[in-house]
């Protein structure tokens, strides 16, 4: 890692004067800290591979060394660059934190993805090249889960339509607006695990669940909501909608409230019916907010896991699987981190491409680039 300074040239252009000695001291501190971190890491790596006999019992000291190195880097920059160093200190902790916890593990994941690695067995890791990838290509469950993701992402549009309707209701001239707003928001705040159990497993229970009882009352003799594949998938989608509609509703409501009163009046009068006024005035004006909301929501939807894991565990026969829940199952059943990581990394590449395309096609409709 390079230790070049992040130059902060601020709005008021403070030209800090730093004495040469202080500058040298700063550079020295950064260099020696980097050297020390590198030495400790190399030493521990050699020890871990059994080449040397001196080392730590685990890698915790390396983490501590990284934290110390980060601190030394911050102090060194302040010594070396003065005012610019003080400014760099604002963003550096967040960058160092994210690099350590995201960038490093993601690349480390690539290393795991090409291994046969069962955490439970004593054998440890063995490199198996592209085997995991070939297994993935032939894995029907993976493709099935990917197709399910397409379905789940598509349901976002339905959620959006309902959320828009609710936002319009809340934006109407109603009494007790605050009560309805809080009531509508609550599902979003509930723990997905509690939702899975108390709705998915209790309210939808085949024998006594109130929802199944209600469906029977309406003449549906055999409401096997979670055992018929397509029904199970739709049921999960409904539960997911129940949780997430409030999120979209709040964003759309804020958009509606930001529209000027004249516009809203114009949508009402002008001889236009409510329906016409909505399509000709409100909806086009709301397009930027709508697109932003839907894109954000799709990005969150790609992570869908908790409800599926807890309600159906992907069943019946993988019908409700998302990629995340499938990987969770692969790990829980077989403790094989190698294959699970391969799925995860392939999925990451797929969604980066997908989200990049999505942003490319939608960014011109958004008010701000996400």
């Amino acid at each position: 890692m390079t230790t070049q300074a992040i130059d902060g040239t601020g709005h008021d252009a403070v030209s800090a004067v730093v004495s040469p000695e202080r500058r040298r001291l700063g550079s020295l501190l950064i260099r020696s800290a980097t050297l020390l971190l590198a030495l400790i890491t190399i030493g521990q790596t050699l020890y871990a591979y059994g080449i040397t006999s001196i080392g730590f019992a685990n890698w915790m000291p390396i983490l501590v060394a990284y934290v110390l190195w980060s601190a030394a880097l911050c102090v060194g920059l302040i010594l070396r660059d003065g005012e610019a160093g003080w400014r760099a200190l604002f963003v550096l902790p967040a960058i160092l934190f994210t690099v350590a916890l995201v960038i490093f593990p993601t690349f480390f994941g690539l290393f795991i993805a090409f291994s046969d690695w069962n955490l439970q067995s004593a054998g440890g890791r063995s490199f198996n090249g592209l085997d995991n990838f070939y297994q993935l290509i032939a894995d029907e469950y993976f493709w099935n889960a990917l197709l399910n993701m397409v379905f789940y992402v598509a349901t976002v549009l339905v959620q959006y339509a309902i959320a828009f309707g609710l936002a319009l209701l809340l934006n109407a001239d109603i009494k007790a607006q605050k009560f309805f707003r809080v009531a509508f928001l609550l599902p979003f705040m509930l723990s997905p695990v509690a939702v899975s159990w108390m709705i998915g497993k209790s309210m939808l229970e085949f024998r006594f669940g109130p929802v199944t009882n209600l469906l029977r009352f309406f003449g549906w003799e055999n409401p096997s909501l979670l055992t018929t594949p397509w029904l199970a998938k739709s049921t999960i989608a409904l539960m997911d909608a129940w949780v997430w509609i409030p999120f979209m509703m709040i964003l759309i409501l804020a958009g509606l409230q930001a529209l000027s009163k004249e516009v809203q009046e114009a949508a009402k009068v002008d001889g236009a019916t409510g329906w016409q006024g909505f399509w000709e005035i409100t909806f086009p004006l709301m397009l930027p907010v709508s697109v932003t909301t839907v894109v954000l929501r799709i990005i969150f939807q790609l992570k869908l896991a908790d409800i599926v894991i807890n309600t159906t565990a992907g069943g019946p026969g993988g019908a409700t699987d998302t990629i995340s829940s499938y990987i969770f199952r692969v790990y829980k059943d077989r403790s094989n981190v190698g294959y699970g990581t391969m799925i995860a990394e392939v999925y990451l590449i797929l969604i980066i491409i997908f989200v990049a395309l999505l942003l490319k096609f939608t960014s011109k409709y958004m008010q701000r680039d996400a």
Binding site: T98, L119, L169, I174, A254, S324, L348
Partner: protein, 289 residues
């Protein structure tokens, strides 16, 4: 359409959705007070359909007759509840501190590191939102094992802070952007340093945004299940994981499941009712201008 009809349609729709939104919550709380028979018969309304019993609360040692006695289930429940509080508050504090600093820097200064400029750094942080937890899950499992952080509170706090950091930066940058720069400039003319101006002048003004970011982070961390299920076991297990692992050999004891679920959702319902304004503020940051 006549006005009265239109209004009754609006209120009708509002009430229907209120029932949809609130009934599951009511169901969760009421099931806590049901005995096996009431659960199996699908009874709904307390005191009419069924007589409330203390079964659910007794199962976690919080019913009137068990609350003052020693109780292993209660000790377990309290431990998990406390773990959840530690994880969500710890992570939110960490993310708020680190994130506010970064957001302030990005809002006020022009950084340049090789080809990287402010927009690239902002995008770097925000792009973390796209990353699904599952991509990090396995590497973290392996790394945490090597780092002796598996099943530790610190490990959980670190990863939770990471997952809410982009949201905190997003909210706080928006917040700082609305504060005029003249404020710090005046302070610096008076001899304040950059950090002095930030800590003494700007942070107090940005407090509403910080509260919004903090509450949203706490909600997200409190409900988090995926990482907790993979990375914790006996020691650092949180409440959602405890809820999810309630299946016994004699099937599910719905009353104790409901009691635990109620405990998991009650704090957030309280937050939702009293701090709704901040949640809405946090959620709508940046999407509406």
């Amino acid at each position: 359409m006549p006005h009265a009809l239109k209004r009754s349609l609006i209120y009708g729709a509002l009430i229907i959705w209120t029932v949809i939104a609130l009934f599951p919550i009511f169901w969760t709380f009421s099931t806590t007070f049901k005995v096996a028979k009431d659960v199996q018969l699908g009874h709904i309304i307390p005191w009419v359909d069924f007589k409330p019993a203390w079964l659910g609360l007794r199962a976690i040692g919080l019913s009137p007759d068990t609350i003052f006695t020693e109780s292993t289930p209660r000790a377990e429940f309290v431990k998990r509840f406390w773990n959840s509080i530690q994880a969500s508050f710890g992570a939110s504090f960490l993310a708020l501190i680190v994130g506010s600093m970064a957001a302030y820097g990005l809002s006020r200064f022009q950084y340049r590191w090789k080809i990287w400029k402010n927009n690239d750094i902002s995008f770097f942080f925000l792009s973390q939102l796209i990353l699904p937890p599952v991509v990090l899950a396995m590497p973290f499992l392996v790394l945490y094992k090597e780092l002796a952080l598996l099943d530790s509170m610190l490990g959980l706090i670190l990863i939770y802070a990471l997952s809410v950091l982009p949201i905190v930066i997003w909210i706080m940058k928006d917040q700082f952007d609305t504060i005029p720069q003249e404020l710090e400039q005046a302070a610096m003319v008076d001899g304040c340093s950059v950090w002095g101006a930030f800590l003494l002048i700007i942070l107090p003004i940005a407090l509403p945004g910080m509260v919004a970011a903090f509450i949203l982070s706490v909600i997200l961390c409190w409900n988090e299940y995926f990482f907790a299920a993979l990375l914790t076991s006996t020691n650092a297990k949180t409440l959602p994981v405890m809820v999810a692992s309630q299946t016994g050999s004699q099937g599910i004891s719905w009353w104790s499941m409901a009691a635990l679920s109620s405990a998991a959702i009650l704090p957030l319902i309280i937050i939702g009712v009293f701090l709704e304004r901040y949640i809405v503020k946090g959620l709508t940051t940046g999407s509406v201008k």
